[in-house]
């Protein structure tokens, strides 16, 4: 098989098929799975850790674990859920080492506030930026659940598997994350925040 057709075969392979090849020691499958997951997984890690260098390290460690542990994957969850679970665990470990979990709220409160004056109306196109900016002030647990639900589009059940917690906890975290976000939007005088 030439390189081009090998690449298209990789692109057509399911995550499970690539993982099975990784379990057999196929390094090309490692590259293919990395390329498939790199963008969303790296974005998730950057948003979780707020540190690109650390996110790259954790991405690397996650994929190395995938290489090492592929043979142990039992298919009880999807491959993506399993890999995000590894990445989440490593990201939290990294944050704990930096003692940022405990300090997270404190750190968030210290982020330079670039908010417009409270009486100004935020144009619709700026709303997205405002929400994104305020989201950076949320705790790590709240940022993670928003990322996993809104950007990665995981279901409640999948997020519960990734975070290793009950589904109700996922819903509760989402509820409080959104409540906190609304409170911050209201504090900036943004219309419709109370919706």
């Amino acid at each position: 098989m030439d390189m081009l057709s090998a690449r298209s075969a990789d692109a057509a392979a399911s995550d499970g098929q690539l993982l099975a090849r990784i379990a057999r020691g196929d390094q090309d499958a490692v590259t293919a799975l990395y390329r498939r997951l790199e963008r969303p997984l790296f974005a998730f890690l950057v948003k979780t850790l707020r540190d690109r260098e650390a996110a790259a390290d954790v991405l690397n460690e996650t994929m190395l674990d995938v290489w090492r542990q592929a043979g142990r994957f039992e298919g009880k969850s999807s491959v993506a859920t399993w890999i995000y679970s590894i990445a989440h665990h490593k990201a939290i470990s990294w944050l704990r080492k930096r003692r940022e979990v405990e300090l997270d709220e404190e750190t968030a409160a210290q982020i330079v506030d670039e908010a417009p004056p409270a009486d100004s109306k935020v144009a619709a196109e700026d709303m997205s930026h405002t929400i994104a900016r305020l989201m950076e002030k949320l705790s790590v647990d709240h940022r993670i659940v928003l990322q996993l639900a809104y950007f990665q589009e995981f279901s409640v059940g999948q997020i519960a598997e990734i975070l290793d917690c009950p589904e109700n906890t996922v819903k509760t975290r989402m509820f409080y994350a959104r409540q906190r976000l609304r409170a911050m939007l209201e504090a900036e005088g943004i219309e419709g925040a109370a919706a």
Partner: protein
């Protein structure tokens, strides 16, 4: 994993609100979607709440999409590590084809013999690395650049049921090698690369966290 049936039957207003973030991404069950759509007709303020959820989702997605890709060297580093650990990542004997049947026959199904065989193989490879290690670190590739000579030794006892592949993968992840054993009691001498003291503690914790594979870990000399 999608919810096939809501555990509480018809959706309560609070359930509807809780599910909105997953409704906008299409990650609710058909039944839940029907419940939310019915509620949208009867709850006047729900449409505004849904619009807010959609704005949040758009903001999160845009922010994530603007994250620059990981540096290209991340993949290069990963592939180097994959190559380095390949020699420790021995395929499971049970999963091999005809070619390894002789090995299975010779070693039997006793896992500890398989581990002992792995130890011998790893020690030979490690010896090879030392013999052929160039004066300039890294000249012969990443594997040769791992400095075990000044590393810390650990005394590790593996679970009797631990397979060769599991042990090799576990040690490979730490860039550790078996340099001696099994000693009386089934203990192996495992050498870590030259690392700082806190990294040795981390390695011990890592090993001890694999209770299915490791019985005890003690610092060696």
């Amino acid at each position: 994993m999608r919810h096939e049936q809501h555990p509480h039957g018809p959706l309560e207003p609070q359930d509807v609100e809780e599910l909105l973030p997953w409704y906008v991404t299409g990650r609710v069950s058909r039944e839940e979607a029907r419940g939310i759509e019915a509620a949208l007709k009867t709850m006047p303020d729900l449409a505004d709440k849904l619009a807010q959820v959609q704005r949040e989702r758009e903001a999160v997605s845009r922010a994530a999409e603007t994250v620059e890709p990981a540096p290209p060297e991340t993949l290069q580093r990963l592939l180097q590590q994959v190559e380095t650990t390949r020699q420790w990542r021995v395929p499971r004997i049970e999963n091999q084809g005809e070619g390894s049947n002789w090995l299975k026959g010779a070693l039997g199904r006793n896992a500890i013999w398989q581990v002992a065989f792995a130890a011998a193989c790893v020690a030979i490879v490690a010896l090879g690395i030392r013999i052929y290690s160039p004066s300039a670190p890294g000249e012969f590739g990443v594997a040769g650049s791992i400095n075990h000579a000044e590393g810390t030794t650990l005394l590790v006892t593996f679970q009797p049921a631990a397979t060769l592949a599991d042990v090799a993968a576990l040690l490979g992840g730490l860039s550790a090698i078996i340099v001696d054993g099994p000693k009386p009691g089934g203990t192996y001498v495992v050498q870590l690369p030259a690392v700082q003291d806190k990294d040795v503690d981390a390695a011990i914790s890592d090993l001890m966290s694999h209770r299915d594979l490791v019985v005890t870990v003690l610092r060696g000399s």
